[in-house]
Symmetry: C2
Subunit: 362 residues, 2 copies
């Protein structure tokens, strides 16, 4: 299989490293193209990149600008009955996501941790599905939810084998997981909300602007992907985009639209008493606070927000660090759910999910 | 893909039901052969079985005895560049397992929840691997560990993408899970061991002879499969068979070899005080007892036995019913492991794992 990589940032670099760490003699893959935002290389399959030490210099020595029309044409020309081609999109770009239908229609498989295409406009998603059905080329997106954790593949298998998904419930954001594992432990007191968010930002767990995590959009995007993966097998609302998910943002109304992360953090303490009060109330009921996502195939609901869970619940007892946890309640996994838990972010585990998808194609 | 099913007991029947529940128009499978211990049918692909209501009568109307040499020949003759063939072995027979190398060599894919081949004699396992490498036909065995839970596939992906498995630790037996979830809750007192085992047997959670669970062999078999799946990627001992696993049986020495389950249960109360004592000691240390399996790639150890875990550990807080739980400690999933949890036995979830494997081939 010939592989073209788009995006060579943290995840992209780690993916290339993992891909090229498969011994060349036994690897079913030939890496023939790399594109960053400013440069691009395209090599003859016989000259495929094999060295983890050299790919960066090969790319930086190129004077070619990325041109995705040319890339599509060149890759299409290489497809044959014995040669498959895949593009791995390691960007988070909406523009690249918009190209998936073109690539799939041309017979190029698409693999990506980029959530944009699958959680964005329903029209784009439908064009992706129909392009894939038309050509037989596949799109795989395991790393869009829970990074390398087996979430999408597990859900697809439940659905494909005829199980009925009643409810998926989970902590889908590593950032939100860290924040509430620290903030709400069952005790009525603890560190202030703003201090926990500040520490999370210092540790690199949040986006530069913490509001980009606290708005819940990342969770809403993941729920949209899960909901679309279930498809018509449950009576779920048809989501026009992730914006259709009922999302209860944690950004205080007065802090909406503040342009910088620094300014946001400076003003967040004004609202600490509100969060304190919620923690205290939860604690009095023997509960903790967790920011969760729910896809409810029985109630026909898809929602993200802060919920209370008993201190004996796995979301309280079993979570730590920035772990994700996902519970699948289904007809077969009932009354006790199927649970997947572990790190749901980070370059190594995200790249692993991408490479795992690529391995499924061979 | 043409499918032949061997074994039509609980799991086999459920598998056939799930397979035939995929609408015929969209199903990539054609079920052309069924074999029970006494009968067999083989149909022309154009006459493939499509009805969940009729397969039993089709089989019982047959006067053919199962003949696996003929089956192999007939299936081999149907393989072509456009037609794949798979045998699904839903038995737990050692004799059928011994045929896998023949089938694989002939180009027939083998899918099974039968643990015998992968946990038995190392020679058989090696013949399976080399037959598969030789012909390109695949053997998939997701349901041999944790039934439909994504355990084997997750482990394969970790290894294939270059992660290093440090340790796999889990509760791998639904029976043992139920018994110790009931027996040891962290309190110093509780129901007697023999009473818990009796109830488990009444509920159908144990084998007719409970010693067949308490000997720990089922766990040792699963550890052997995991250990071989990791392969040379960790410094694990080469297991000649599951009997090479260090297994601490729970059968009191005086009760070894008792022929019937009834007699065994009648005498088990003589040893309740020993189990009481262990529970009490664990409780005084803030621990619970769990029967676990460990594959330790760092210490180079594979072992099954009773261990103590803090009452705050997921094996204590998160387990219930007859759930399995499996923790993968790896270089990437460190310090916090990747965890998979849920029902690890039962016809519906086992058949689901088998059908999931079959879907991976198309």
């Amino acid at each position: 299989m010939l592989v073209a990589v788009v995006g060579v940032g943290l995840v992209g670099s780690e993916f290339i490293h993992q891909l090229l760490s498969i011994p060349t003699e036994s690897s079913p893959f030939r890496l023939i193209s790399l594109s960053s935002s400013s440069r691009s290389v395209f090599l003859d399959p016989a000259q495929a990149i094999t060295s983890t030490a050299k790919w960066k210099s090969i790319l930086s020595a190129s004077n070619e600008k990325p041109n995705f029309e040319t890339l599509t044409q060149k890759l299409s020309a290489l497809i044959s009955s014995s040669t498959k081609v895949a593009i791995v999109d390691n960007t988070s770009s909406e523009d690249i996501a918009a190209l998936y239908p073109v690539w799939l229609k041309a017979g190029i498989n698409v693999i990506t941790p980029n959530k944009k295409a699958y959680s964005g406009d329903l029209g784009l998603y439908e064009r992706i599905v129909s392009a894939s059905n038309e050509s037989g080329a596949r799109f795989l997106n395991e790393s869009t939810v829970g990074a390398g954790l087996p979430v999408i593949s597990t859900l697809k298998e439940l659905v494909a084998t005829g199980d009925k998904v009643k409810k998926i419930e989970g902590v889908f954001s590593g950032t939100m997981s860290y924040i509430f594992n620290e903030f709400s432990t069952g005790s009525s007191e603890g560190p202030s909300f703003s201090s926990v968010v500040s520490v999370a930002r210092e540790k690199g767990y949040t986006e530069p602007h913490p509001a980009d995590d606290l708005n819940g959009f990342d969770v809403a995007r993941k729920l949209t992907i899960l909901s679309r993966t279930i498809g018509s097998a449950a009576s779920l609302p048809s989501l026009q985009s992730f914006a259709s998910v009922q999302t209860a943002s944690l950004i205080p109304a007065a802090l909406e639209g503040i342009p910088t992360g620094d300014e946001f953090l400076q003003r967040l303490p004004e609202f600490d008493s509100d969060f304190d009060k919620m923690r205290k109330e939860a604690s009095e009921e023997g509960m903790v606070l967790r920011f969760v996502g729910v896809v409810d195939g029985v109630k026909g609901e898809v929602k993200a927000g802060l919920e209370k869970y008993p201190t004996s619940h796995p979301f309280a007892t079993s979570l730590g660090g920035s772990d994700n946890i996902i519970m699948f309640h289904t007809e077969r996994y009932s009354p006790r759910p199927l649970i997947v838990q572990g790190a749901g972010a980070g370059a190594a585990v995200t790249a692993m999910g991408v490479l795992g998808d690529l391995l499924k194609l061979v």
